[in-house]
Amino acid sequence: MANLAELKGMIEAALPGASVEISDETGAGDHLRATVSAPQFEGLSRIDQHRLVKAAAKERFDDGTIHALSVKTSVPS
């Protein structure tokens, strides 16, 4: 089971200054949604923004804790 608070912390650590929200899509802890607004996304394509978020969560993908992660990114206005 993924720890939502831990995942939030991992993304915040990788993207200092980001605003991060994690929600659990199924209630089982393996399909999560990350909504991330980060200044580091400025000028990046959506896929590159998503790559940054996925890279931050890489350990939890590799150990199978997270099965799927929906990502929604934006640049803070």
Partner: protein, 131 residues
């Protein structure tokens, strides 16, 4: 932990990406998607009404993850490639569809009603198969 990608498979994948202006790596087939994310991309492509190739990754899931990790630094499926470039998975495809960017990238007209569907019609395009 992921290993080195199979060179023959990687070469085949690169060939397919080059040969198909629109190529979807998905779980299952357009007629029978086997995951919700893959189904969402198929539904969007149906609305945009564009020809596309489809590869079912399930018969070779881990080897294909290794290949796309090397080609595109991306290991989850579905993956939509347009003109040789990875656009993204379901989230990105849906966002771009709603904004009109997807139709633009595909060189087609934005459908009059561009809504992310809850229930879509089955796809018409035939799937390709990797040997």
């Amino acid at each position: 932990m992921p290993g080195m990608a199979d060179p023959e498979l990687k070469s085949k994948v690169e060939e397919l990406i080059g040969a198909n202006p629109v190529l979807l790596f998905m779980k299952g087939t357009p007629d029978m998607p086997r995951c919700g994310f893959s189904m969402r991309v198929v539904q969007v492509l149906d609305q945009v009404d564009v020809e596309y190739g489809a590869i079912d990754v399930l018969p070779a899931l881990q080897p294909l993850r290794e290949v796309t990790a090397e080609i595109s630094d991306w290991q989850t499926f579905p993956q939509l490639y347009v003109n040789g470039e990875l656009i993204g998975g379901a989230d990105i495809v849906e966002e771009m569809f709603e904004s009109g960017e997807l139709a633009e990238a595909l060189g087609v007209e934005q459908p009059a009603v561009a809504q992310v569907p809850q229930d879509g019609p089955p796809a018409q395009s035939p799937p390709l198969q990797i040997e």
